[in-house]
Each structure stands twice: as C-alpha cells, then as structure tokens.
Symmetry: C4
Subunit: 102 residues, 4 copies
Amino acid sequence: WKQITKMDFGFILLLSLIIILLGTVGSHFLEPETFPTLFDGFWWTMTTLTTVGYGDYFPVSVGGRMLGIFLFIFGIGIIGVLISKTVDSITTFQKFKREGKL
Amino acid sequence: WKQITKMDFGFILLLSLIIILLGTVGSHFLEPETFPTLFDGFWWTMTTLTTVGYGDYFPVSVGGRMLGIFLFIFGIGIIGVLISKTVDSITTFQKFKREGKL
Amino acid sequence: WKQITKMDFGFILLLSLIIILLGTVGSHFLEPETFPTLFDGFWWTMTTLTTVGYGDYFPVSVGGRMLGIFLFIFGIGIIGVLISKTVDSITTFQKFKREGKL
Amino acid sequence: WKQITKMDFGFILLLSLIIILLGTVGSHFLEPETFPTLFDGFWWTMTTLTTVGYGDYFPVSVGGRMLGIFLFIFGIGIIGVLISKTVDSITTFQKFKREGKL
Ligand SMILES: [K+]
Ligand SMILES: [K+]
C-alpha cells in the first residue's frame, strides 16, 4: 500500500513537471514577444496552473491561448493534486513526529 | 456501475460545453465592445470558469456582469468536477497500465 | 436525514448572502472612490469570493484590505461549499430523472 | 480524537502564520520597490495564498518570483485546509447549537 502511494506521488510529480515544461517552452516559443525569456514562460505557467493569474503575463495569440486552455484542463487538476499531497505529507510527518514514530 | 460513471462523465461534459457556449455567445452579444470576437468571449469564459481571471477581459455592463456571476455560481463547480474527473481518468489509466490490465 | 441536509443548505445559503451583503455594503462605504456604486461593491465581492480576482476592482485602504482578508478567510470557503452543493443538486436531480424517480 | 483534531487545527494555523510571515517579510525585503511597506507585502501574500491574485502587486525579480512559487506550492494548500477547517467549525457549531448541545 505504501509502495503504491509512493509510486502515485512520483507519477503525479512527473506529470506536473512535464506539464510545467510544456507551458514554459510552449509559451516562450509560441509568443516570444509576450514571454521574452523561458523564465517568464515558467512564471506565467506557475501563476496559471495555481489559478492565481496576476495578469502580468497572458497569451494573446490563438496558439498561446490554446496552450493556456490545455494548461487549464490538464494542468490545474494535476497541480491541485500535487499541492494537496504536499500538504498531506507535511501533516502526516508532523503527526508521526508527535506520536514519537520518527 | 461503470455505465453510471460513464454517463455521469458524459453529463458533466455536456453541461460544461453548454455553459462554455452560453459564456462565449452571451459575452460577445451582451458586450461586443469588450469581447470583439467569439474567440475573445470563449477565452474570457475559460479564464473565468477556471478562476484564473487574468483581467485581460472582464465585463463592465450590468448584463455582462450578471452573466459573469451566473458562470461563477453554475460554471465554476461543473468545470471543477470535469477537471477533477479528468485527473482521475489519467491516474486510473496509469494504475491499470502499471498493473498490466491494459 | 433529508431534513438535515436541506437545513444545512439553507444555513450555507443564508451565511453566503450575509457575507455577500457585508462585502457589498462594506466595500462601498469604506472606499467610495474605489467602489462608486453598491453594484460595483457587489461585483468586486463576487469576483473575490470565487477567487476569480480580475483586478478591475481591488481595495487600496487598510480598512478595505482588512474587509478583503475577512472575505478571503470566512467567505471563500462558504461560497466554495455553496457552489459544490449546487453542483451536487444538479447531478442528483439528473440521476433521479434518469432513474425515473422524477 | 477531539484532542488530535484540535492539535491538527493548531498546527495548520501555526504553519499558515509562519508562511504568511515569510511572504510578508520576504516580499518586502526582496523587492522593496514592488512592496514598499510590510502591509503591502502582507496584502500581496494573502491575495496569492487564496489564489485571488488581483494583479495590483506581483514580484518582478527572480528572487521575488521564487518566493511566489514557494507560496504557491507550500502555502496555497495549507491556507486551503485552514479555510476549509474554518467552514467546518462554523457548520459544526451551528449543527450543535440547533441540536441543543450548546
Ligand atoms: K485568480
Ligand atoms: K486573477
């Protein structure tokens, strides 16, 4: 059971990294004027996947917006699971520590 | 059981598409100055339903804002369920593949 | 059981309406320059509680921002429950209809 | 059991306060031009952790954005749990009151 959970976390993390990479590289190459550096594309991808959406960066072309909608549908959920699993790990770690199991 | 889940996913998807269509067409016709093309209305609808809200588009009229609030109340939850079911499908697919069932 | 669920929905709805009213009236009176009409305050409250946050309206005074943070902590969760219960109602209604119970 | 839940709430609250403090102090010192006062840093931290993201404040430096991404990954989930536990407390309080247990 522990094994499965660990593998699932690894799978979610891998999928998240692939989606973040797609957003970073895709935005920079589809709209170099909007996302002048790869770091700008990465920053936009992170603000998008977490749904913070400051509005300092956003795509304006059809291709860029299609990438955005891809991130919405396939990325927001995956990052949400990753963030929720991160919180679970922290609270479980604390519970174990408190109970003297660590 | 599988049948029911499949129907539920179909129902959620259909409802999502209807709400996205309402947002796209509604915004463009209620505020053509704010949403000059149907694709602009579609892009605003998607940024709204996912709660990303970049702020590159937003309604300014009473009618447009009422449409926005309709999308908030009836759309955000439906899209949330759709995104969460999409993630479930991906993780289930991966689990089945790993276990050699596919 | 049905009774309790119904009462809970009513309680959540009542709480939501009180919080929306507080945000609407509070923002307009704390910062009349930022929120010139009550409808502007209502629109900002709704974009805040749903975490869409277009950025067309936001408080700039200490009082207005404290109201914002109050809405974040006590409102986002309540509206989230209301939206999720609305989705549940729609899917349950559809399930009942399909099964011929309605 | 009650004891554990209470401790968990305390732990989540403590973690939230630490993350809010890190965001407030970190943003102000990493980017004093963007966040001129500690209260500006606090306001940006709260709009970020709740994913409202008005866009009135956002980091522009590499360090500031790294702090933002830290808040995304470790903060959004924790604040989400805090907000959801706050809602639970309110509904439980109401249920107890209604049932005459308070
Ligand atoms: K947002
Ligand atoms: K936003």
